[in-house]
């Protein structure tokens, strides 16, 4: 278990005796950390004093990552959708609901139930999800309900179902610590599941014999603690694991007894593995790895019974994602390492409640409570339970197909809940065009301005985290409560309420007569129990005693891992540890895997491979994390990371703006050179969108190829081309208030949230504007003619340098910095001056100099987001105080002592300062290839 951590943002002065404490669950990744929020006693208050990790939650034991730690900064109503909207006009709930029901009903009436669809989200709560699924599959009578979990988890779902007979994760988080070998493949857990990675790291520190292998084309932050990194060629994972299976068999490192007693189809799987990956040399060549490295990995796998293979989007997001998952599961079945302490395949979920969504059947090819649409017995059971006669027999449209059907006009109405498909789906410009053409788009969202909002005819304001009440399930099947901290903002309502209101108006009121989320959860639990007996219709998913939950026990529900049953009333840490699986015959199935390359290959026109993923301090489309100044400091802009050799080849200099093009779309991003990239490959984060960046939606670039079984898109592999934007000028615009008209002529424009305003990063390739007049227009002086405007200006016209500040009564309101050089100054100290006290003469004089006045510190780009420690501060401490270890930095500055996800960066900074004098053994600690 990771060490207890100093709580972040604990401000004792805010703690009055009359405060109350609410236990809830973090809304970000699938780790599902418990949160302890301290609030004023006044229930109507929106104030939140502190957000800390819940020391009693089994997942995180008090720790939180940088994102969770800064939830407090995201709780204002700024940017929220607070009223229903009908055809672009605010309206009453009744009007919005009536109109939605009427229009939806008319389309169903005219075109049949399959002409409508729901597109949901792994960020809905289980209760929301349950009623959405029930409405679509039980009463509208279509299976056209899919979810953004399709983009994230669906290959793992297929893998689990094919191998285990149900979508069950066999392992639990404790296994990360029990394992003697953790294999992280297609996962940058250090950034994407920081708390889980901390548990791995802590276990390794306590037991130095434990090993970590990271399989990833990029040398990510997770590799910093790795004993071995395999920088694999993208798309060759299945081949690597086929090679492992074959090698294990050759080395007689498999478990024949387990295979014989608990599995089937081993021989055909082995034959497939052998034909595609006959020996290590073949594997190494195909995966572009060193032979010795592959051999190391295979040997460690063979000789370590407690081996855990954790995988995430790098495996799932592929046109062969399901096969990759099964290639991984195959080697675990072959060694009998499934559901055993420290030994399992382990899918790390991306979203907070993707698992809950799967449990209620929120995917188009599921039913509910882990039952299958194709199974008539399951259909009959659910239909009877719901009192419905319309349960569809056919799977509905999966996400990518769904939007293709909208484009084709086959689906005429779509209700999007809690997600942003215009950003997150592949070929996203086409998705946008399809939505714009769609007859009826209903959108439930807590945020006002999202890229999908523009296409919506009816908008429902949904409650947000901090207001919502329900349950989520994390990656280890642990059900936790999300509890409200504050009253609902404006007129926002819970998603389940909105859905039930619509169901009632569609004539299904009796089946949706819920007064509170606990009633929904109880029904969900009851369905999981119904006929769930070995002699009737056994299923893995079982909530047993929770079918009797009531308001009080629901309120008090402690985290619990399903299945919950009479035999295991406290839940189950693992599944299949007894070798009995959820298949009809109880045997796990090997799946023969023929490795397939990615669907679209690179060619002359699109010579580079685009990889996408998360950065450390942002979440999804930034609707929440983008509000946090603290989280915006680490990677403030959309960057394209590429190898220096590629930068040289394509004429790209660091910090300038690059344009990426694919067959499907284009994107602008700032160039970041990184020798952690393989040559020929690019990485662009998935987060940025039109609300934060002009041409920053990576979804627009991503190819629409999907896995034939899971329907999951190949977001990790798109052929692209890159070129310099040929910017004539670069700029920074700081402002106290949003300036929507600003930078209209900029090609590149990224908005960053600052503590006292916002910052725009700009670049333009066209004719340079007349700066004095343009800048005054951008900085919005004209609008405030009444007040005493003060302008401070600097120009070096022949160099294309221009700077302008607007002040009011001596207070800084806005500032523009234009330079032909992409290397722009650190404006952190300027951001702190926005609309603060009237400037001191020293500050005023320094305003346009790019350097803080004497005595003012400029911390630099955020490295440690938890404690807000910047690069300049760290470098200075390393230089002047001789701090030469991360521990010393942590003691001196606290940096890295909370979630630890910045430790690799801290190490790199120390190394940068000391490497010339340090022996290599100390400088580069881990073994790498």
């Amino acid at each position: 278990m990771s060490a207890l951590i100093t709580p972040v943002r604990a401000d004792a002065s805010d703690r009055t005796p009359a405060s109350r404490c609410v236990r809830t669950t973090c809304p970000y990744c699938g780790t599902g950390c418990g949160i302890d929020a301290r609030l004023p006693a006044d229930l109507d208050s929106r104030a939140v004093a502190t957000i800390e990790g819940d020391r009693l939650h089994p997942t995180n034991s008090g720790s939180l990552c940088s994102k969770g730690s800064h939830l407090g900064e995201t709780l204002s109503t700024r940017g929220r959708l607070l009223r229903p909207e009908l055809d672009g006009q605010p309206c009453h709930w009744e009007q919005a609901l009536d109109a939605a029901a009427e229009r939806l009903g008319a389309i169903i009436e005219t075109h049949g139930p399959d002409a409508v669809a729901f597109y949901c989200s792994g960020q809905l709560l289980t209760e929301d999800y349950y009623v959405a699924n029930k409405l679509m599959k039980g009463f509208i009578g279509s299976a056209n309900i899919d979810t953004n979990s399709r983009l994230c988890m669906s290959s793992a779902v297929v893998g689990h179902k094919r191998a285990f007979g149900s979508d069950s994760v066999p392992a639990c988080y404790l296994d990360l610590e029990l394992a003697d070998l953790v294999v992280l493949t297609g996962s940058n857990a250090a950034w994407c599941h920081p708390i889980l990675f901390q548990r791995i790291r802590a276990a390794k520190q306590a037991h130095p014999g434990k090993r970590l292998v990271v399989i990833d084309p990029r040398r990510t932050a997770s590799c910093d603690d790795a004993d071995l990194h395999l920088p694999i060629k993208p798309g060759t994972d299945a081949l690597l694991f086929n090679g492992l299976l074959n090698w294990l068999a050759e080395q007689q490192a498999i478990d024949p007894d387990y295979i014989a007693r608990h599995t089937e189809q081993f021989d055909s799987a082995l034959a497939a593995a052998r034909s595609s990956a006959p020996d290590i040399a073949t594997v190494a060549a195909a995966c572009e790895l060193e032979v010795a490295a592959v051999e190391h990995f295979f040997r460690w796998f063979a000789e370590t019974p407690k081996t855990l293979t954790a995988f995430s989007q790098g495996v799932n997001q592929s046109s062969a994602g399901s096969d990759k998952v099964n290639a991984i599961i195959n080697v675990h079945l072959a060694t009998g390492r499934v559901g055993r302490p420290g030994a399992s395949p382990f899918s790390l979920t991306g979203q907070p409640n993707a698992m809950g969504g799967r449990e209620v059947g929120g995917l188009a090819n599921q039913l509910a409570a882990h039952m299958n649409l194709e199974d008539p017995r399951h259909r009959a059971l659910v239909a009877q339970f719901w009192g419905s006669e319309r349960v569809p027999e056919q799977a509905g449209l999966k996400a990518v197909e769904l939007f293709e059907a909208i484009e084709a006009g086959r689906v005429k109405a779509v209700w999007v809940m809690a997600t942003n498909p215009v950003d997150s789906l592949p070929d996203a410009d086409r998705v946008r065009a399809a939505l714009e053409r769609c007859e009826l788009v209903i959108l439930s969202d807590c945020m006002d301005r999202t890229d999908t909002a523009a296409s919506a005819h009816i908008r429902f304001p949904a409650t947000a985290w901090g207001e919502r009440d329900g349950t989520v399930t994390n990656a280890e099947r642990c059900i936790s409560r999300q509890r409200p901290l504050q009253p609902s903002a404006g007129e926002s309502r819970p998603d389940w309420w909105i859905i039930c209101q619509l169901a009632r108006r569609l004539g299904f009121g009796a089946a949706f007569d819920y007064q509170a989320p606990w009633q929904i959860f109880r029904e969900h639990a009851a369905l999981s129990v119904l006929d769930n007996r070995p002699d009737v219709l056994p299923r893995g998913f079982n909530l047993g005693p929770l079918a009797h939950i009531n308001s009080t026990s629901y309120e008090a529900l402690a985290p619990i891992q399903w299945p919950v049953s009479m035999e295991a009333p406290a839940g189950s840490a693992r599944r299949f540890d007894d070798g009995r699986f959820d298949t009809d015959n109880g045997r796990a199935r090997f799946v023969p895997i023929q490795p397939r390359p990615p669907h679209y290959r690179c060619d002359h026109a699109y010579p580079l491979v685009l990889n996408t993923g998360r950065v450390r301090d942002q979440w999804h489309t930034m609707t929440r994390t983008g509000l946090s100044p603290s989280l915006s400091g680490h990677r403030p802009e959309p960057e394209v990371s590429l190898h220096p050799d590629d930068a040289a080849r394509y004429g790209l200099r660091p910090r300038e703006i690059a344009r990426l093009r694919s067959r499907w779309g284009r994107l602008l991003a700032r160039v970041a050179l990184s020798d952690q990239m393989r040559p020929g490959e690019l990485f662009v984060p998935m987060h940025w969108n039109d609300q934060f960046a002009r041409e920053g939606r990576v979804g627009a670039l991503v190819n629409p190829a999907t896995d034939p079984l899971s329907g999951q898109p190949e977001s990790k592999h798109t052929p692209v081309a890159i070129e310099a934007l040929d910017a004539r000028w670069y700029g920074i615009l700081l402002s106290r208030n949003p300036l929507p008209a600003a930078a209209d002529s900029a090609d590149y424009r990224t908005r960053i949230c600052e503590a006292r305003g916002e910052r725009l990063m700009l670049a333009g390739s066209g004719e340079e504007p007349d700066w004095p007049s343009t800048a005054r227009r951008w900085l919005g002086g004209e609008a405030e003619t009444g007040a005493a405007q003060e302008w401070i200006e600097y120009e070096d016209r022949s160099q294309g340098v221009y700077r302008l500040a607007r002040l009011r009564e001596g207070r800084l309101q806005a500032l523009l910095w234009v330079d032909p050089d992409p290397e722009l100054p650190d404006t952190q100290w300027l951001g702190a001056l926005l609309d603060a006290e009237p400037l001191e003469p020293e500050q005023r004089r320094a305003l346009l100099s790019g350097l803080p006045p004497q005595g003012t510190r400029c911390g630099g780009a955020t490295v440690c987001a938890c404690f807000g420690v910047g690069k300049n501060t760290l470098l200075e401490a390393i230089r002047t105080r001789g701090l030469n270890s991360v521990d010393a930095l942590g003691q001196a500055l606290k940096a890295g002592t909370n979630c630890g996800s910045c430790l690799p960066e801290l190490r790199a900074l120390i190394q940068q300062q000391y490497s010339p004098r340090m022996p290599p053994s100390q400088a580069g600690a881990s073994r790498r290839n």
Binding site: D796, P841, S849, N872
Partner: protein, 445 residues
């Protein structure tokens, strides 16, 4: 000490005699420098038209404005001359009327003739009065019309300020502005007429000049820019003397004037030098050693012309003084080369500094301008660079960095690395160099 009148050529064994014509700042500084390096080299005689020991002409402006006292502007008191063994002969009687280069002697107005072995001409300059109807009827300056050159002018202005209340200053250069400011401080209503469209057009650019004008206007001074004077009107005063009454402009404006100060420029005072046959053009021609065409005769200050330039600011005078002293002392290593001096305005509360070129003129290689404007904060800065070297600066509002810019311009160093912060001054640039982070391997790649 020998009595005046018994001046004779140097005899064997005696120290040579240095005679200095003029007791202004150039002469005084030359003597200071000379005494510092060769205290016993000469017997020195100093001849001055103005009575009394030398004073700091630069400080006439604050003296006029009443900001300092007369005693504070004296450069040396009489004891000093005595101690240094300098024969100080001042007053109109000692105004030199002739230089006899053949006999190596000078003749004073009182008839005295003084032999020299070395002669230093430091006769300074005279106001350059414009051709203006009624300015000096019958060749004599009209009563109430003054320049702003010496203590006598200050004395007259101070008296005029007591009596009358309308003053007109012609000429918006440094001297004119200082006079206008001084008279304004003395309580007169001052109008300044300037030919150019903006003030200090030889030292400032229009933007800085506008700030300056705004500031002076806020203190009560009125300005007529691009103003052409046509005539001076006069009347007979109570004493029966012809006295200035008004200045008439070409556009017909009539500015009442109890006092008219003309500060439209200066011309080197070369009368004596020219009369004795020394080569002169605008000024007395000198070589890099400050030597005239007569090797026994040196000249310094506003009366000289060196490589086509004449001088009106104190810094070049001081540089000349140093070189000249070096030559007079017989060391002979000093060479004078002109360095454009910075301009400062002696008007209290106004910070102004200018240096070198002023505008990106339409030349083959026009300089590039860096401009900083904070009008509300009363700050303006412009730097002109050519090939990343400083060739001009205008500072208004804050001038502490002036000497630093002067140094940068003098040394002609390449300023590429500082360019982005250059206008923000020395402290900022030094901090920049300290804080510039080391380039990391990744960034270098």
């Amino acid at each position: 000490m020998q009595a005046p009148g018994s001046r004779s050529p140097a005899r064997q064994g005696e120290r040579p005699r240095l005679v200095v014509i003029g007791n202004g700042m150039a002469a005084t500084r030359t003597l200071d420098e000379l005494l510092a390096i060769a205290p016993d080299h000469y017997r020195i005689t100093l001849l001055g038209r103005e009575p009394g020991p030398a004073y700091n002409r630069i400080l006439l402006s604050p003296l006029l404005a009443g900001e300092i006292e007369l005693e504070q502007i004296r450069l040396h008191d009489r004891d000093w001359y005595h101690q240094q063994g300098i024969e100080l002969l001042t007053g109109t009687g000692y105004q030199v009327t002739r230089i006899d280069r053949h006999r190596c002697r000078v003749q004073c107005a009182n008839g005295q003739q003084i032999h020299y072995d070395r002669l230093l001409i430091a006769t300074g300059s005279l106001p350059a009065l414009p051709e203006l109807e009624g300015l000096s009827p019958g060749g004599n300056p009209l009563k109430g019309v003054l320049g702003f050159r010496d203590l006598a002018d200050v004395e007259q202005m101070t008296q005029a300020a007591r009596a009358g209340n309308e003053a007109v200053v012609i000429g918006g250069g440094l001297l004119g502005l200082e006079a206008a400011h001084g008279l304004n401080c003395l309580g007169m209503r001052v109008t300044l007429v300037h030919r150019a469209p903006y003030l200090l057009n030889r030292q400032l650019d229009p933007e800085a000049a506008a700030l300056l004008q705004r500031e002076l206007e806020s203190r009560g001074i009125r300005f007529v820019l691009a103003g052409r004077s046509r005539a001076v009107r006069h009347h007979t005063d109570a004493d029966g003397a012809d006295k200035v009454a008004a200045l008439e402009l070409e556009d017909g404006q009539r500015l009442a004037a109890d006092l008219l100060v003309v500060t439209t420029g200066i011309r080197p005072n070369i009368e004596l030098a020219a009369a004795c046959g020394l080569a002169c053009r605008q000024g007395v021609l000198v070589n890099d050693c400050l030597q005239t065409y007569d090797p026994r005769i040196y000249a310094v200050g506003e009366c000289v012309e060196h490589r086509g330039l004449t001088f009106g600011l104190v810094e070049p005078l001081f540089q000349q003084a140093r070189v000249c002293a070096n030559q007079l002392a017989g060391i002979g290593t000093g060479r004078y080369r002109f360095t454009p001096p910075p301009t400062r305005l002696k008007v209290s509360g106004i910070q102004l500094f200018s240096l070198g070129e002023l505008e990106p003129a339409a030349t083959d290689s026009p300089p590039q301008a860096l401009v900083y404007r904070d009008p509300a904060g009363g700050i303006y800065r412009k730097l002109l660079l050519r090939d990343n070297r400083l060739v001009g600066a205008v500072l208004y509002g804050e001038v502490a960095d002036g000497p630093w810019y002067f140094e940068l311009m003098r040394t002609g160093q390449d300023l590429s690395a500082l360019r982005a912060q250059l206008i923000f001054g020395q402290a900022c640039c030094e901090r920049l160099q300290r804080t510039r982070p080391p380039v990391t391997a990744e960034e270098a790649a």
